[in-house]
Symmetry: C2
Subunit: 311 residues, 2 copies
């Protein structure tokens, strides 16, 4: 039985091998090849905290994955990360525990970054080069690293944050520029990535130019919102990771609630990757990828880490 | 973070400290002090196998528990146990992983034995001495060890199995006698413990004498049955670990399905332990404890193992 801690896992992260595995996981999900039971959930009202258990099995693969993720907001006061967790890998042939990946949510951050970059690659204009990332947290770092790995070194990044100070520090650490004027940055970007915990839209719809692609990853739970409903309604292509999940609490949920978007206009990312549905259809299309995170991503990245450990 | 394997856990098992903790866990469950979300479940149709995830939190305790249990029948052909699993202990204050108890189902076996003995202690006649155990598997061993620990050394055990050979070996290993004549053994026992995987009743109702207590632990999933419906209907006191669970797949479920028993006659073991409901009311009563296993037992035993590790 293999036990890996966060730093051991860090050393095994290779985005160039994880990205195709995650892409395949989206296709497998789309094709009904992944058993994904309902997410388990337990709450801790005394701490306004909770724990989610996501688990699933890609049919005919020889292992399956159980991911435990905790969210304890009060940890911030203790100087600890609010998110924590681990990934268990078990044999789908004998049921035996194969590995405990005690990643403290690291793999969730990485797989979210990679899914964002894969969505941008699939939906942005072919020569998209200027990437604007909104947010200054760990997920901003992940989005930049993943977009750089997948779109190539010539990609240019600028960072905007509600705190100019944090944006400057984040940009410096990533070799990116800052975007002090949000309106100008939004208007000039080929790709906009929103990676904040915002509960209200970050910018108005009319700042966005035709041809822009937006990848939004912040709306991972009810009550969160990064994009203007008018922008979602205006998009020429609305791509989601999972229709049911995004219609429930993704960016598109707000537009659906107002009746401005109908769920049957949503296209799943796996369908785009599988070639079953077209993505962008013109260089002037505005495209949006609304990503809430699916268990198949967790399965794929856990398997990549284990394979790297064995190699 | 603590990681203990099966043999390390084995060395920390002390039934005299675990028993009162499990008793308290039943009381806490009865009193609504344990949050027990629905059990997670994933199946592996290619192997006729499955995995259950049971988890819960005793309110105001500083940790919570996630138990993963797998059942892969095909393991028998590989010379491996069909059941496997582990127990995760996490902080209910920060969400951090505190321990991985890689017990391979050992703690489930032990807590099931202890709950059986606690039920027998609470419901059998005060001077009950002769314990007949039906079954020859690991759970028979657990029931004998737990009954001996809780009822005292003067308790006499006899073992019956569908295979006389296995019954002889099991009895010899436990310092018990064998019960070659099942009818005579059933009629003479003060306490009968059924610990088999039977799908049809093990003996007819009329073999059982007035005053007998029966603890049945084998019916842990739909389709299993150890006791004659007529015996369940004849009992003066029907005690269950959890009404909803036992009415679904416990021994009492079969009698409920035929209309011979009404669910509102069932008494929960926690109510007996808490003194909220009477148990046996006469030395001639036939009492039955139908135990399907509840997550609060898993929480209690995991905490005892961790406490023993720290002491």
């Amino acid at each position: 039985m293999i036990i890996l801690n966060k730093s051991e896992i860090e050393a095994l992260i290779d985005r160039s091998t994880i990205a195709p595995a995650i892409k395949s996981a989206f296709v497998a999900t789309r094709q009904g090849q992944v058993e994904l039971p309902p997410v388990g959930h337990i709450t801790f009202p005394d701490h306004n905290a909770d724990c989610h258990i996501k688990y699933g099995h890609m049919r005919h693969q020889d292992n399956f994955v159980i991911k435990v993720a905790t969210g304890f907001p009060g940890n911030a006061d203790l100087g600890m990360p609010t998110g924590n967790g681990m990934v268990l890998v078990l044999s789908a042939i004998t049921g035996a525990l194969q590995a405990v990946l005690h990643d403290e949510m690291r793999l969730t951050d990485v797989r979210t970054g990679i899914a964002g970059a894969l969505a941008s690659q699939a939906l942005a204009r072919p020569k998209a080069r200027r990437v604007l990332v909104l947010g200054t947290g760990p997920q901003t770092v992940e989005q930049v690293l993943a977009h750089r790995a997948i779109l190539g070194d010539q990609t240019e990044f600028s960072i905007w944050g509600r705190s100019a100070e944090r944006a400057t520090a984040c940009a410096a650490a990533l070799g990116a520029s800052t975007a002090p004027d949000l309106q100008a940055a939004v208007s000039q970007a080929d790709i906009i990535v929103t990676a904040t915990g915002a509960k209200t839209p970050l910018f108005p719809a009319d700042w966005v130019m035709p041809g822009t692609h937006i990848t939004a990853v912040g709306a991972d739970a009810p009550g969160k919102q990064e994009l203007d409903i008018a922008l979602v309604a205006r998009a020429d292509r609305l791509v989601v990771d999972l229709v049911t999940q995004c219609a429930h609490h993704g960016e598109v949920s707000h537009a659906i609630a107002t009746g401005m978007v109908h769920p049957n206009t949503l296209v799943e990312l796996g369908a785009i990757f599988a070639g079953e549905a077209p993505g962008r259809q013109s260089t002037s299309d505005i495209t949006i990828a609304d990503l809430t995170g699916i268990a198949a991503q967790d399965i794929a990245i856990a398997q990549c880490i284990l394979a790297a450990h064995h190699s």
